[in-house]
Amino acid sequence: MTTVKRSVRLNRRLLTTSSFDSGALGPLVSLIHRAPAPGTYQAVVLRDGQRAGTTCFRVTDDKAGTQLNIDLASVALRTGAATRCACREHPESAPAVSPQGYVLFHVSRGAGGYAVVVGEAKEGSQAVFDSRALTDGDLFALSFIVPATYAVTSPGGAGQGEIQVAPIPPGTNLRAVSPVSVDASRDGFQPARVTVHVGQGVAFRIRSVTRIVIEKRSPAASRRAAPLAPGARRILRRVRVRKLR
């Protein structure tokens, strides 16, 4: 007999997402771009092609870290329809990153379909980064939760790849597992076929491709947890109890 206290929410979308698209970001993926030149930047978040929100950040030498995370879902939830970017009035309040650092875009909740366009926070500025068209040096990283075989493609490119995701081996310490790196170029994926397990990261280094799409092809064979050691053995354990005085 088992019972579960329903005091928690399972993020089912993590388990049901079967495709990952660098041009339509969703859960489990991260898109990393090198920090642009020092300045104040506005990031416009799009969802299914529609403007969903904006945020801004600074690139500066002044006590800034090497990594800035921007959660596209939070930006969309927070601001809703397009608003004036507050950092035009208060640029010092925007989060900052070092010019040697990286900006990481991810989606913490929801179905996905996000894109982001980054440009300087001033009228008429050009986009310096558009997640729908990746540039060399960008990184597209993800972890798989569902064991299956996944096909990797790059629209417009010749490459076809495959990722086989196995269940987590018992006793694996996920924190000690290194990710697998794949180079994505116009000539294809290198290596074209990789094998990882659930929770192990795959990082695509972008070289002359603009988009990466990963889709689940077939589930892995369902496997129950490994059985415990077979064979009964006689346990001789003696506890001696004395009368309490």
Binding site: M1, T2, T3, V4, K5, S7, V8, R9, L10, N11, R12, L14, L15, P27, L28, S30, I32, T66, Q67, N69, Y102, H106, S108, L139, A141, S143, I145, V146, P147, P167, I168, P170, G171, R175, P179, V198, G199, G201, A203, P219, A220, S222, R223, A225, P227, L228, A229, P230, A232, R233, R234, I235, L236, R237, R238, V239, R240, V241, K243, L244
Partner: protein
């Protein structure tokens, strides 16, 4: 020379002993916080079998008395970490840590709790051995009013008479965990998986399921040897063996003597009043003749127990 002496053969003694053993039933439940998880038990046991031996050194030994687990439910309350996939370290820092790392992804928004109840009765085999001495003790009935005479004391139910008691005074009780059935491993495995599935992890996500099951086993610190884990949990962590042992000692010493003798002891039963007349209503019966018993002691050798005492 004692005024009276009664000896009972070892066979007769075994019957006395068996009656007291038959009456032993222990029902208890409790739980304990063991840190990463809570464990609880709900047990009901009785005893069967065993061999009883009177020994030449004035002790009694009972061997291999079976504990029959009418109920042994083990409950486990596990607070499992919310199964998070750590971030991917994209650029390691040669000095340690990561320069560039993706965010952690958690399956649950908080730590879920699961409860498992395992019915283990019939899967655990345990035996008890007892070594003790026979002793007598005079029991003054605390409920008897001080001015109540020996005949009025026998009227209520239960009687309010004082008694001499013969009881087994255990010096120690050994509880042996003899066997844990093979199927306990499967039972626990199935229970954990069912509990984890009940969290809403889809059946197809076998990998996620196995990861969480593995996590639960880690929390419980099961390892490879399920029998040893269970033995330690029941015995060491929950202290079941100690609880059973103390209850059995209490049963023999306090609750159920092997033999009880009313004092004063009725040597002649009541009799009709000799002055009854045919055509008149009967007169009160003659009261039983009762003997005060003093200095009752017990000893045994390897073939019999001997009670000796005096008439007061």
């Amino acid at each position: 020379m004692p005024h009276l002496r009664v000896a009972a053969s070892e066979q007769a003694f075994k019957k006395l002993f068996a009656k007291v053993v038959e009456k032993f039933v222990l029902e208890k439940s409790d739980s304990k916080d063991l840190g990463p998880f809570t464990a609880g038990y709900d047990i009901k046991i009785h005893l069967e079998g065993g061999s009883v031996d009177l020994r030449a050194d004035n002790t009694v030994q009972v061997k291999e008395l079976d504990i029959k687990w009418d109920r042994l439910n083990l409950s486990l309350g596990i607070d499992i970490p919310g199964f998070c996939i750590p971030g991917i370290c994209l650029i390691p820092n040669p000095l340690g840590g990561c320069i560039l790392e993706t965010p952690e992804i958690c399956l649950f928004d908080a730590d879920p709790d699961i409860s498992i109840v395992l019915p283990l009765g019939g899967l655990i085999t345990s035996e008890i051995s007892i070594t003790g001495r026979l002793r007598t003790r005079y029991n003054v009935n605390a409920d008897r009013p001080p001015d109540m005479d020996q005949w009025d004391a026998q009227l209520p139910d239960p009687k309010l008479t004082n008694t001499w008691q013969l009881f087994l005074d255990p010096q120690f009780v050994d509880i042996d965990l003899v066997d844990v059935a093979d199927t306990v491993g499967d039972l626990l495995d199935d229970a954990i998986e069912a509990a984890v599935e009940a969290l809403g992890v889809p059946d197809v996500i076998a990998g996620g399921l196995s990861a969480i099951v593995s996590l639960v086993r880690d929390v419980l610190d099961i390892g490879d040897d399920i029998q040893e884990w269970l033995s330690d949990l029941l015995g060491v962590s929950l202290g079941l063996e100690n609880i059973i042992g103390q209850a059995l000692i209490e049963h023999f010493v306090t609750d159920d003597p092997l033999f009880e003798l009313e004092d004063p002891y009725p040597i002649l039963d009541k009799a009709p009043n000799p002055n009854n007349k045919a055509v008149q209503p009967p007169l009160p019966d003659l009261v039983p003749v009762k003997l005060p018993i003093r200095d009752l002691t017990v000893s045994n050798n390897d073939v019999e127990l001997v009670l000796e005492g005096n008439v007061g």
